[in-house]
């Protein structure tokens, strides 16, 4: 009924508009004899000027209201640099936008037909054109050089020997996060049909002793100040490993390994503390009844369309200090101990019932299905 009513209203509105518009056109013609655009140029001149003011006022309002809600400041070393670059470029383009939009709409108003006797024939001016070619070139050169410098710093700097290496593998619709355990070394993975099975999706070679202390985690634990190398991959389709707070994003491509090297700078607690000083984060979240900063968490997301539950690949990211990390590490049960050892004890071969940690995580948290249900 409501759909029908709104449809009827729209049709009515359209009819009224068309008839009024037709009438106004006929009226103009009767009044001016020949078709003249001077009157409407005058009106449109004022309207464009009004739009210019409205645009700036609206933009300022949007900045005021929406800036505080944005993803908060970077929590990684390179992220602070790229944020700086972002902000700097943003200021430059805002200045350019204000100047050019003002010129555009002001000229449209100032030189409309009703305010001018004759147009000024002015076809080109080489000096002017050279100037407005060179200035953008210089500004862009600066931005390009700064951007490239940062880019090479992110992707080609030397690796720290003490870095934390974590393996993340995307699949529909989950992340498999593998840690190398106490020995700091990953067990070998062999991608062939003998190793890759529904109970061993990653194709881990259990005969490699290095695999025996590797464990899976349903949360991504990172260490403050410790360089981290994410080794990334995907099982089925392209995913993208995205840590919005750390300004980290890298595609996970089936059959092609990728990686991202970065250093977190703030623990989860420190970020909460920082956010507790921010007005918007002090407001109460109606869903939890608490100030927003109290329930803040870092998150991992998928940023490449990977299928119908692309939007559900959420994992919590927790940044802790090294001692806290060590403590957490000690509590983990290795995947080998959890799934392979018991079967060896019973001397049976790979029982189908033994589920890997990753599928356990699936059961525990069906992230993708939140909406569907």
């Amino acid at each position: 009924m409501i759909a029908f009513l709104s449809f009827a209203i729209v049709v009515l509105l359209f009819t009224v508009l068309v008839l009024t518009a037709k009438a106004s056109e006929v009226a103009t013609e009767l009044k001016d004899g020949v078709r003249s655009y001077t009157n409407q140029s005058r009106i449109n001149g004022y309207l464009l000027l009004g739009f210019l003011v409205l645009m700036f006022a609206g933009s300022a309002y949007a900045f005021k209201e929406l800036m505080p809600v944005m993803v908060p400041k970077a929590a990684s070393v390179h992220g602070e640099k790229t944020d700086y670059l972002f902000n700097m470029t943003m200021i430059i383009i805002l200045v350019v936008a204000v100047l050019t939009q003002t010129a555009l709409f002001y000229f449209a108003y100032r030189y409309n037909e009703s305010r001018v006797n004759e147009a000024y024939f002015y076809a080109h001016n080489n000096t002017l054109e050279i100037v407005w070619t060179i200035i953008p070139t210089i500004v862009l050169t600066v931005l390009i050089v700064m951007g490239m410098y940062e880019w090479f710093t992110i992707f080609t700097r030397d690796r720290d020997k003490n870095m934390l290496v974590i393996e993340a593998t995307g699949k529909q619709f989950n992340w498999m996060l593998r840690y190398s355990g106490k020995d700091g070394k990953f067990g070998e993975r062999i991608i062939d049909t003998a190793h890759v099975t529904p109970t061993n999706e990653l194709g881990i070679n259990w005969n490699d002793p290095k695999s025996h202390d590797d464990f899976m985690s349903d949360k991504l634990y990172l260490v403050k100040g410790r360089p981290t190398l994410m080794k990334l991959g995907a099982q089925d389709v392209i995913h993208s490993f995205y840590l919005p707070h750390f300004r980290v994003k890298m595609d996970c491509v089936p059959g092609t390994p990728t990686e991202f090297y970065f250093t977190p700078t703030m623990t989860t607690e420190e970020m909460r503390k920082y956010l507790s000083t921010q007005p918007w984060w002090q407001t109460i979240n109606p869903e939890t009844g608490q100030p927003r900063w109290q329930t803040f968490k870092y998150e991992l997301a998928c940023a490449e369309l990977c299928g119908k539950s692309h939007f559900g690949m959420e994992r919590e990211v927790i940044v802790v200090t090294q001692p806290e990390y060590d403590e957490w590490l000690n509590k983990q049960t290795s995947l080998y101990d959890a799934t392979i050892k018991p079967t060896l004890a019973k001397e049976t071969v790979a029982p189908a019932a033994a589920a890997s940690d990753s599928t356990k995580a699936d059961e525990k948290k069906p992230t993708a299905m939140l909406i569907k249900k």
Partner: protein
């Protein structure tokens, strides 16, 4: 099939001697309206088909905006229309992704490529260069019919059981590369139809483009040197060149993708594991597809924006009663954009793990494109400066185009910088950027063109008042939708809902606001359609046998109001000057076919 009339006319074009009188061919309904080889009729066919696709593409966006704006609401009427795709009144996840995929495909290819280039290249190139028709009217007709059949295939894919393609308009494998594995519902028959539709579309596009280029190069009338061409013709020709050089790469990419899908080859697939089952594909790389796709995909955005730039240059000059500022600089910057457009594609792939050196080079070229773009903006502003601007709907849309191009273009400087792009890649910031700079801006260019050349197409005017209402709603509405979207920096795009993430779930009121505005803007476009079709039959008529409603210099207005097959009844006009003699030599305007008087410069 009756091919004779236009072939004869095409012959007449080249030798410039024949009159028209002796050519009176009986046109049947079929040859005049359906299998027409007349560039003006083909132009209308492209325009109206493009409008149909515009409505479909816009409607799809309204549907998915319902989901994005009110993720917790249900809309029971949706179920009555969409059935299983909206059970309980909520758009299903599969259908949501089909909607965004087809929205992108339709608007990028069928509206802003086929609809925009097809309409204005066909209308303007023969008229403005002083030719009776295209170099090959028959190929021109084929171009339209391939375009239409491509559309029919795409449209039918909505009605198959598994629904249309739903793996994104970029069609990345393996999501779209695996046919029967269940990775994606739309990757079955729906994607095959997408691939077939795109193949037909590419054929159409190439046939059209070859024709446009050869027409501009070979069929210019006497005196019409390249440097006297209106900028609209330059832009349309460059667009066609970009299309000829880039569309084949997409065709190759799509054909190989179908090999993977249908013949189990491994061009793009390697070590695919689904539910612990290793599939037999070995040695391919999805990144190869991304390269092939974006080798078209990036030039494609210039295929969309260049015709709009040409139209706007023309409309601004005519309605400002001033020559376009820096004509040569405009051509050089168009050419610079054309060349650079081929060496920036990998900026869509900064975070695919490509070699950092490559990322740096693509940053360099990408940001360089800002220079010719900036020159063009300054020249447009220079054109209206001290003009005598007639603020009609056409002029308003041209001014709106420049505004949109500034706003959207500037954020490109942020996105093109690879190190900043790490965070922004595949987020709503990108969505805001490209919708403003190539979506809305290109539409504004198209509207400017339609309002400006409607009298040429139909011998009547569109209603100005409605046109101006259309303009203000679209201008304000578009900014209301896409400006605040920039603040969603960091929110991944192509999300059905943000409810799973604390980090992203903070913009629900804003999303609802944008959805409401999107619906209003969509309705305003319907108003445009009402105006368009109403004016075809009831619009104010052009008076006289010949009419030049905007006092324009270009040749299309030297032809009679009645649309003749062959354009000019007598000899085709001879050109003596450039297209921009406005407000000079003591006359408000001087058409290109007016001979030079003493002391006048030819330009």
């Amino acid at each position: 099939m009756q091919t004779a009339p236009s072939v004869e006319h095409a012959g007449v074009d080249t030798d410039h001697i024949h009159g028209h009188e002796e050519h009176h061919h009986e046109e049947t309904f079929l040859t005049k309206y359906i299998f027409s080889q007349d560039h003006k009729m083909i132009s209308k066919q492209f325009l109206i088909t493009g409008m149909f696709w515009g409505v479909v593409g816009g409607l799809l966006s309204v549907l998915f905006r319902l989901q994005l704006g009110w993720p917790n609401e249900t809309f029971p009427f949706l179920e009555s229309f969409l059935g299983k795709w909206a059970e309980g009144g909520r758009i299903s996840q599969e259908f949501y992704y089909a909607l965004i995929t087809m929205h992108g495909t339709i608007l990028v290819f069928f509206v802003l490529t086929g609809g925009l280039s097809g309409t204005f290249a066909n209308l303007l190139i023969p008229f403005q260069i002083g030719s009776r028709d295209m170099a090959s009217p028959f190929v021109n007709m084929l171009s339209y019919w391939f375009f239409l059949s491509a559309g029919v295939v795409m449209l039918f894919s909505f009605f198959i059981q598994t629904g249309p393609a739903s793996g994104g308009w970029t069609a990345y494998p393996p999501l779209n590369g695996l046919r029967n594995t269940g990775v994606n519902l739309g990757s079955g028959l729906g994607f095959d139809m997408w691939a077939l539709g795109m193949t037909l579309f590419i054929v159409s596009s190439l046939l059209g483009a070859l024709n446009y280029v050869s027409t501009v190069l070979n069929l210019r009338t006497k005196g019409m040197s390249m440097m006297r061409l209106p900028l609209s013709v330059w832009a349309l020709m460059f667009t066609a060149i970009v299309g000829i050089l880039s569309f084949p790469a997409l065709l190759a990419g799509v054909v190989l993708l179908e090999f993977d899908r249908l013949l189990d080859t491994s061009f793009y697939l390697n070590n695919i594991i689904i539910n612990g089952q290793l599939l037999g594909y070995k040695g391919g790389s999805p990144i190869l597809f991304e390269h092939l796709f974006w080798f078209l995909g990036h030039p494609e955005v210039y295929i969309i924006i260049l015709p709009a730039m040409g139209i706007v240059s023309e409309v601004l000059a005519v309605h400002s009663r001033k020559p376009i500022f820096g004509y040569k600089a405009m051509i050089i910057s168009l050419m610079a954009i054309l060349i650079l457009s081929f060496i920036v594609w990998a900026h869509h792939m900064f975070v695919t793990g490509l070699n950092p050196n490559l990322g740096a080079i693509f940053t360099l070229f990408t940001l360089l494109i800002a220079i010719p773009s900036a020159i063009k903006v300054f020249n447009w502003i220079g054109t209206i400066w001290r003009g005598k601007i007639r603020l009609t709907a056409a002029a308003l849309f041209a001014i709106g185009f420049v505004s949109m191009f500034i706003s959207g273009g500037l954020t490109g400087i942020i996105l093109g910088n690879s190190s900043i792009d790490i965070q922004l890649h595949d987020t709503m910031f990108v969505v805001a950027h490209f919708h403003i700079v190539m979506g809305i801006a290109a539409f504004f260019g198209m509207f400017a063109g339609v309002y400006h050349w409607f009298p040429r197409l139909y011998g009547r005017f569109m209603n100005e008042t409605l046109g101006q209402i259309h303009f203000y709603i679209t201008l304000i509405g578009s900014y209301c939708i896409f400006f605040p979207m920039h603040f969603m920096t960091g929110l991944p795009r192509r999300y059905y809902s943000y409810a799973n993430f604390d980090t992203f779930n903070n913009f629900n009121n804003l999303a609802a606001f944008m959805s409401i505005v999107a619906i209003v803007v969509f309705l305003a476009q319907l108003l445009f359609l009402v105006n368009f079709f109403y004016s075809i039959f009831k619009g104010r008529k052009l008076e006289g046998e010949y009419a030049n409603p905007w006092d324009s210099n270009t040749l299309e207005w030297t032809a009679p109001v009645e649309r003749l097959h062959g354009n000019w009844p007598g000899d085709i006009p001879e050109v003596h000057r450039w297209a921009y003699d406005y407000s000079v030599n003591g006359r408000p305007f001087t058409p290109q076919n007016v001979p030079l008087k003493d002391g006048e410069a030819a330009h």
